[in-house]
């Protein structure tokens, strides 16, 4: 029987990721919301709170969406947490349900990113003034991006992977490219992925270099998309139909962390410690360990990032991420399938949608509704997301016992 503070995903939906020239963020967000409500078998009248995320728009996405899908007067939270925005919206809805303020909440993340190009870096244009003038927190007389390291994402995450190589050894351009080869191979089974073509190791390594060792296909794909989820508690779920109870997915862990201070963390963002901290909390909340997981969707914003998260999520021994990958474990046929959706490198990364879309993927597997790419008999899965700056969201989902 469900305890009243159990949290369940009652319905969840992800739009096709890719280029949606004919739809704006409100169209995509509405599609995700209406899909999630239909999947849950409820309407906006049942929802007590809305949390919504959209980073690149003009703000107030929650109310813009309400004006299309239903203005019921409920509290709405516009959340922003870099690439962890979707997970943060979901976490916000879950906290409201868990606090007992509402018995049903809705979270949505939506982004239009096709064609925006490189994210991060650049910043203020070089001053065309005639006198050097120190400004900002470093008293810099010009933009530091490119002159004192890099602030663009491909290079930042390249250094994250290279740092792991420096610490533990065994990394190479080819190893990172092989990780990308895996995800592009996985994407061929995902009709909702922005890119679903397999790529050979030679193609990946021979493509345009963005920031060594990440070539273009080793970087997350900018695209448009949205995802939404309806959450409820165990008490409410008991009052719903058997079919709703059967398809509901139990959220056995919902965790959000930020990066704790440690040496170097303000020089190169440390995406490791906050992920490890979130993973520890999540496994404890769920009462499971990494070996209990049937699949993992982790934040492979770049091939170099996926490697370090094998370790941070404790899918392998500390320092053992290279051996873990080389063993074939994270392939969909392996012992610990990772990113069977194709990951951000092929499925795509519409920033605010990502943190719910990865949960959608895991949810479809534990429901046994994932079609051709179903991981057989999947019962427990983990979804991980990182927003640089930093925030880490981890959710562990479990198949309904009904």
């Amino acid at each position: 029987m469900s305890r009243s503070d159990d949290i369940w995903i009652l319905g969840i939906h992800m739009t096709k990721f890719g280029k949606h020239f004919d739809k704006d963020v409100v169209d995509l967000g509405s599609e995700a919301i209406m899909g999630a409500l239909a999947d849950a078998g409820v309407t906006m009248a049942d929802i007590g709170i809305l949390a919504a995320g959209n980073l690149m728009g003009r703000g107030g996405i929650a109310q813009q969406l309400q004006k299309q899908v239903g203005q019921t007067g409920i509290p709405a939270y516009n959340v922003s947490n870099a690439c962890a925005t979707g997970a943060t919206a979901l976490r916000t809805a879950i906290m409201a349900v868990k606090a007992g303020e509402v018995d049903m909440g809705l979270a949505v993340g939506v982004e239009k990113l096709a064609g925006v190009g490189l994210l991060g870096g650049g910043g203020t244009a070089k001053s065309d003034g005639n006198e050097w003038e120190p400004s900002g927190r470093y008293g810099a007389v010009g933009p530091v991006d490119g002159r004192i390291g890099t602030e663009a994402m491909p290079g930042v995450f390249a250094q994250v992977g290279m740092e792991y190589g420096h610490k533990y050894g065994g990394t190479s351009f080819e190893l990172f490219a092989k990780i990308s080869e895996k995800n592009h191979s996985h994407s061929t089974l995902n009709p909702l992925a922005a890119y679903s073509k397999a790529m050979s190791l030679e193609q990946i390594m021979g493509d345009i270099m963005i920031a060594y060792p990440n070539t273009r296909p080793m970087c997350s794909a900018n695209c448009d998309g949205a995802a939404a989820a309806v959450v409820t508690n165990g008490e409410k779920l008991k009052t719903l139909s058997l079919e709703q109870q059967r398809r509901a997915i139990k959220v056995t862990a919902s965790v959000l962390t930020t990066d704790p201070y440690e040496e170097a963390c303000q020089v190169l963002p440390n995406v490791n410690t906050l992920t490890r901290n979130a993973a520890k909390q999540a496994y404890e909340q769920a009462g499971v360990g990494p070996s209990d997981l049937d699949l993992v969707e982790l934040h492979d914003c770049f091939a170099t990032a996926e490697l370090v998260h094998y370790d941070n999520l404790m899918l392998c021994e500390e320092g053992g991420a290279v051996d873990f990958f080389e063993s074939g474990a994270p392939w969909r046929t392996g012992s610990m399938p990772v990113n069977v959706s194709g990951g951000l490198q092929s499925k795509g990364h519409p920033i605010s949608a990502t943190g719910i879309a990865n949960i959608w993927e895991v949810a479809q597997h534990v429901r046994g509704e994932c079609g051709d790419r179903q991981i057989d008999d999947a019962k427990i899965g983990l979804a991980h997301v990182i927003g640089l700056g930093s925030a880490c969201g981890i959710h562990i989902l479990e198949k309904s016992a009904v």
Binding site: L118, G121, G122, G123, A125, K126, G129, N130, E131, W132, P134, R137, Y138, G139, A140, V141, G142, P143, V144, D145, G146, R147, I148, G149, T150, A152, P154, G155, A158, Q159, V160, M162, E163, G165, H166, F173, I208, M209, I210, A211, Y212, P213, N214, Y261, E262, E263, A264, Q266, V267, L268
Partner: protein, 134 residues
Amino acid sequence: MTDTATQIPFVDYLVLDDGEPHLIAHECTGCGARYFDRRNACAGCFGTDFTTAEIATNGEVRSFTIVTFAAPGVDVPFVASVVDCGGTSVRGNIINCPPDPEHVTLGMPVRLATYVVGTDDHGVEAVNYGFEPA
């Protein structure tokens, strides 16, 4: 020409006028954490008392990337890196070295080096730092 300094550091934590060029950091007197930016408090122990610490000019490449595609206005290619300078991590480019993985390697010993970024209408040179193979 003016009577004032003819050089200005590209960032305020680069010291050009006190012996050999070197970097300085705000060091928390409570926990020893070092920061290169202007501080409001210490992120580690929340203290508000800082002293100035000199950073070692020799170090080891802890991580790097060779950026070949960047935001508009950023010249490529360049090598971005994190250098361990005697226990303090510093962000900086690897300079005076071909930007390829044959010449830039993890663990490579490097030392601080400076170069002129540009000159303003008053003839003042902005001087930036990087790290070169040692």
